[in-house]
Symmetry: C2
Subunit: 343 residues, 2 copies
């Protein structure tokens, strides 16, 4: 049975109040602060109903009410109003992200900082999986007798470089020939597709040439480290400002979990391919340890392909209205910037 309009108003009021104060909310407070035109006693009756239906809970007998995970879920889905970023905040995003970034990786890092700063919660960002990007340029640069630098530029401008050892010194013309061959064959190819089959084909083509075969080995070695997905964390310090984490042990547990890149990656990517904003509330989260946390994530994309994720982690009592707006805005900006960079 759907909630009456008045119940919705009360649930919204309690959620708002609790998000601001972190204190259980009583019927008097609601009656005083939100003019619903009814007395505390009436609100008390409604609250009892809402609790019975699972939207609210009581930390202990005769305390005020706080929203349950189900309550937050309903609030997020049906009750909250979108928050507007103000002029200064928009300007800050624009200038920070559009500033000079000598490397694309820096842009992603910067996004995490911005996200943490604006939301005042902890920001999580997964850097693009480069193995799904198209190769734009691939070049060997001889350094000295035994070392060459393999530089890989992947759309829309991510640069990876690896120093690799060679078994013999390469001549300038040889390097030129290799570079030429590589770029002719690999321009525009998705890095992940280079795997065994394509390398095999190329090996066929150059069968008779020891030089090229060796170059292919170098390439393979360089591509190997491409799959590593980087996770950026920022603003863990904001956890301490939340009263629910005033107990130092809780923060310790959380930080220990977040130290594990794999976990953070899973956290953000169990929704891979799923674009748009996504909110995970408390117990909805599969990873225990985040039972009292909520996560708001969004993807950033290039040409319709999900490149990576940005997210904000905070207590379930998080300011969803604001966080959703911020995450959405930054993800959109990132997508836009990456697309522009590829032009």
């Amino acid at each position: 049975m759907p909630l009456s309009e008045r119940k919705k108003q009360i649930l919204r009021a309690i959620t708002h109040d609790y998000i601001n104060s972190a204190e259980p909310v009583g019927s008097r407070t609601i009656a005083r602060r939100y003019s619903l035109g009814v007395s505390p006693a009436t609100i008390r009756n409604e609250m009892a109903d809402l609790e019975e239906d699972g939207y609210l809970e009581q930390p202990y007998t005769s305390a005020g009410r706080i929203p349950s995970d189900k309550g937050y879920r309903f609030y997020v889905d049906a009750l909250m109003d979108p928050h507007k970023l103000n002029e200064a905040e928009i300007r800050q995003v624009q200038s920070t992200l559009r500033g000079e970034h000598s490397q694309m990786g820096e842009l992603v890092h910067e996004s995490a900082r911005l996200l943490a700063f604006l939301s005042q919660y902890t920001a999580l960002v997964v850097a693009p999986n480069l193995s799904h990007g198209a190769i734009r340029r691939l070049q060997l640069i001889p350094l000295d007798e035994w070392n060459v630098l393999l530089v890989l530029v992947i759309d829309p401008g991510f640069v990876q470089s690896h120093i690799v050892e060679t078994t013999r010194s390469l001549q300038v013309e040889e390097v030129a020939r290799i570079n030429d061959f590589f770029n002719r064959r690999l321009f525009g190819v998705m890095a992940a597709d280079i795997s065994s089959t394509l390398l095999g084909e190329m090996r066929e083509e150059v069968r008779d040439e020891a030089l090229m075969a060796e170059a292919l080995v170098l390439l393979g070695r360089g591509l190997g480290s491409l799959n590593k997905e980087q996770v950026f964390l920022d603003g863990t310090i904001h956890l301490f400002n939340q009263p629910e984490f005033k107990d130092i042990d809780k923060v310790k547990v959380l930080l220990n979990i977040l130290d594990n890149e794999k976990v953070v990656w899973d956290l953000l990517n169990d929704t891979l391919g799923n674009s748009g904003i996504r909110i995970t509330i408390g117990s909805e989260n599969p990873h225990e340890g985040f039972q009292h946390c909520s996560l708001v994530t969004a993807s950033y994309e290039l040409d319709g392909h999900v490149l990576g994720k940005v997210g904000v982690l905070g207590p379930t009592r998080m300011n969803y209205e604001r966080v959703v707006t911020i995450v959405e805005y930054i993800a959109a900006n990132l997508s836009e910037l990456l697309t522009d960079a590829g032009r």
Copy 2:
């Protein structure tokens, strides 16, 4: 007046005990745990003397004693025994640092992780100041009509790359000519020395060639971002395990300070040029906010030049014997690896 041998023994015993237990140490404990051959009463008398001389202090009347900053200083300078790393630890350092690092920067980052893990305190590392490294290779790679990638390899293998916009599309031969000119003129030159004078000279040489002049502008732009020194922090989580930081506000203050890269940099570098191990205890630290912390730092070097610093930050009640050994060992390993890489 110098301390008697017995006073030294007692000071050492108290320091050891306090480092282990974090509890003020009483005369009975000392008599029981360390066989000095005297009764608690005698020890009490000696402790009273040590307090009068400023080596010990009492948190409150009729509690045990704890070392003062002066006490720690004396301990560090004259009393402590060097700690030996065990087999497993040595193997771990070797394998972690000597493992595959596609980029030198990763090596530095890895050192911070290792330092934090082994010491169980917070690790601080300043990455090498590249502007003092010799240029080994410098190369433009055309990406598309408007962008080229400037790749800079600096001894002993640090790679920096920047995408720069050009005002016009460059021909293949032009790029080759530029690369050739650059490497001929700049090989082995210290990045910092490229500044205005050398660029000016080069500009003279190519005065009549618009192409080269433009290339020089690109180079200047790329070099600009070289001065930025990166600071790595790791193991901040270990702060929480220290009883002196069980008060969440203290940790918050500390983390807020550490968030500021400039401060961390200053912290490590007020000893720049000064090689060897350095220990800063509590109030010896110029930055207030670190009044209850100690810092153990060492430089890592290349060819006798200080490249950067590694350090460990913990409470004044830190295990100096162990930390000093670890910091020394890792700094030495880093120096060695960097030197080897340059061969």
